[in-house]
């Protein structure tokens, strides 16, 4: 994949990966073995017919290829960019056993970008209204998928979004240099063109409750409110000035455009030496954002070793190229204040890895050795917890593990007519898994509403006979 020059890109927010050219795409597609039992498909959470779309790239039928993907995946331009392909489709690809797997993500992205640039995709035909209303709460990938799948079946869909802009983590979390905002806007326009209405500034549970939505005539509701709440460590100094939780730091920059302060009103503190705690996508995004805001030294502080880094491989590579420094087997113990209440340093424990924990990763333990890092900003990116506002407002909703919604394999909750999916049901996961959950829930909601019709008809019959 072509990328921008690391020295230059570390100073701006332009997209790092430039994708592949048409020639490269066709060449890559020709490498595919078109396996009879394709392992790549097993690796994809929504089981896209990968060999089929690749064969269409070979024949230069890009519109056809994209159509294949769209049958399974609402947001190919996004998934092609942000899926952890090495653990999913590409992780399964048979070619990966000996050499390099097919660059499936890059091909998927190529099709989406090609279509956006040159395609003459007709505006989707709006389905004939079937007279049923469904409420979708949250406009992240899960909610957008449910909304568009049901809209295509003729349902009247309203998405309710708490923030002032739709898109969920795609707009407030993942930075511009990885996922340009105009791509998300394009996808949201597509969802709207299907007839979906999006109400922003609508905090369900507060502005209106789910019960009230049902009273207004919605027959089913899908909850896709995500896992937006930050986790923290509760170590001394965590509330000092210049200690950020990654969600705040990224929200300020991505949603509020604080990198353009004072043109935009929301500020963000720029620092010189920044420590980012954690090793996932959120940590990489925060670190590379801090670098782009002008930091001299940015450290990823991770308590396990490089091998265990949960982030997408490509992001780690890009971060290293840009000059982010990695401190493995290191865990913060205390953040030290200067005389004005701002961060001055961070005391860390050196860790050692012991036997594997239930997740199969080796468990870190303190070695008893500590050292001090001179930093003036610390960003905590150690994971997210469930979003509390809505779940607390629905009486009787079954939850698990500290606030996630309990659902069956179709996304049904224990309450009739209420479905859920994405991070709020699984815990922080991926864009594509949230979309997969949305697909299954849309099917389940459709059959739920059809069954309502049947039972209503049954109920009506005896009275009509009288």
């Amino acid at each position: 994949m072509r990328t921008r020059d690391p020295k230059k890109r570390a100073k701006n927010f332009l997209e790092v990966s430039l994708g592949i050219t048409e020639t490269q795409a066709v060449k890559e597609a020709k490498r595919c073995l078109q396996c009879k039992r394709p392992k790549c498909v097993e690796g994809c959470p929504v089981e896209i017919d990968i060999p089929r779309f690749i064969s269409m790239i070979r024949e230069k039928d890009y519109t056809g290829g994209l159509q294949v993907i769209r049958e399974y995946n609402l947001l190919p331009a996004i998934c092609g960019r942000v899926c952890p392909q090495e653990n999913q489709c590409q992780g399964g690809c048979i070619l990966g056993k000996k050499k390099t797997p097919i660059a499936i993500g890059a091909l998927e992205r190529f099709l989406a970008d090609y279509e956006a640039a040159y395609g003459d995709a007709e505006a989707p035909v709006k389905a004939k209204p079937n007279g049923h209303k469904v409420a979708v709460i949250g406009s992240g990938p899960a909610g957008l998928t449910v909304a568009s799948d049901l809209a295509k079946l003729g349902y009247e869909i309203t998405i309710f979004e708490a923030l002032h802009e739709p898109g969920g983590v795609l707009v407030y979390g993942i930075p511009e240099f990885r996922l340009p905002k105009k791509i998300i806007q394009g996808e949201i326009e597509y969802v709207k063109s299907l007839g979906v209405e999006i109400k922003v500034n609508w905090v369900v549970g507060r502005t209106e409750t789910i019960d009230e939505l049902f009273e207004e005539g919605y027959e089913a509701a899908f909850i896709g409110t995500g896992a937006g709440a930050p986790r923290y460590m509760s170590i001394p100094g965590e509330n000092l000035n210049n200690v950020y939780f990654a969600s705040e730091f990224l929200t300020r920059v991505n949603l509020m455009k604080a990198d353009r302060f004072p043109e935009y009103d929301t500020p963000v503190k720029k620092a010189t030496n920044v420590a980012v705690i954690g090793g996932g996508n959120v940590a990489m995004d925060a670190a590379r954002t801090a670098l782009r805001l002008g930091a001299k030294n940015v450290y990823i502080v991770y308590r396990r070793s490089e091998y265990e880094l949960p982030s997408r491989q490509e992001e780690v590579e890009h971060a290293k190229e840009e000059g982010i420094k990695f401190k493995y087997l290191t865990s913060p113990k205390e953040i030290v204040s200067d005389e004005k209440g701002y961060v001055k340093a961070m005391i860390c424990d050196r860790m050692v890895l012991c036997e594997p924990d239930p997740s199969g990763r080796r468990r870190p333990e303190c070695s008893g050795d500590e050292f001090t890092m001179k930093v003036d900003q610390v960003i905590m990116a150690i994971g997210q917890a469930s979003n509390p506002i809505l779940t607390h407002s629905v009486k009787g909703l079954n939850l698990w593990g500290g606030g996630y919604i309990e659902v069956d394999e179709n996304g049904a909750t224990n309450l009739p007519g209420i479905f859920a999916g994405g991070d709020i049901a699984t815990g922080a996961a991926t864009v594509i898994s949230a979309m997969g959950a949305g697909k299954r829930a849309a099917r389940a909601i459709d059959s739920y509403i059809k069954s309502l019709k049947v039972s209503l008809r049954k109920k009506r019959k005896p009275s009509a006979a009288k």
């Binding site: 708490a162 923030l163 002032h164 407030y172 922003v200 500034n201 609508w202 905090v203 507060r206 502005t207 209106e208 937006g228 709440a229 930050p230 923290y232 509760s234 965590e238 509330n239 000092l240 000035n241 210049n242 939780f245 969600s247 705040e248 929200t251 300020r252 949603l255 509020m256 455009k257 302060f261 004072p262 043109e263 935009y264 009103d265 929301t266 500020p267 503190k269 209440g341 979003n387 509390p388 506002i389």
Partner: protein
Amino acid sequence: MFKVLEKEVVNDQVDSLVIDAPYIASHAQAGNFVVVRMHEKGERIPLTIADSDTARGTITLLFQKIGKSTEEFGTLKQGDLIRDIAGPLGHPTPIKKYGHCVLVGGGIGVATLYPILKALKQKKNKVTVILGARSHDLIVWEDKFRELASDILVITDDGSSGIKGVVTMPLKEVIESSAVKIAMAVGPVRMMQAVAELTRPYKLQTLVSLNPVMVEGTGMCGACRVHIAGKTKFACIEGPEFNAHDVDFEELINRQGFYREEEAESMEKYKKKCKGKCKNKGSKDPRGQGVK
């Protein structure tokens, strides 16, 4: 978009707006706030729902012009549109029949106290209100409070209205002369801290409404975190009201001042842009602790 139906200049630092927001109005409870973003480039700022009218579908915001966003907010006129308002947010005030309650308001803190007073009176509580300000013309909504309060005491730093002094003086007298069941204080952080210290030895249940910097106001960023009894809490969803005796006030003051330089820069730029037409009288309070 939300339409401004009425605009009132309360005094030279404070304005109020009546805004058309039927869903928020019908769900607002005492202690709730909204997050407001005036325009595309604006900041999301929290403002208390100072009053609401379900029948008319309106909310009233009362705000002190102390920086770029509130100053710009002050330029809104009847008929203007506000881009984003989300709410009602925050935990509502625990309202029940307590008996005798004392409400202490400093400056713009009355925005928070008024709906609390209304709700407490509905539950037939006896409510003593103590309103404090630097001087007479900065006392806000005195008439509206007089209408509802069982007793009202006004106190100013310079003695230009009511008693001369600080709010803790009359508060001490009320506590010592009557069986007060609960005190609630809203105002500058130093004032709330003083109230907390005053009521602590009396073991009087005391609530304060905290005003840390917020971003989205729905529990997703952690900007608003405060230490309560040694534990981190998010003020936007677990507060903004907390038990006064558990609050780490020094940390709150420190965190409120985090963006002081950027706030000054933003205000400077704004003043230049409107070439002296926008007065900024409120910024005497350099750390913004007078806010709320």
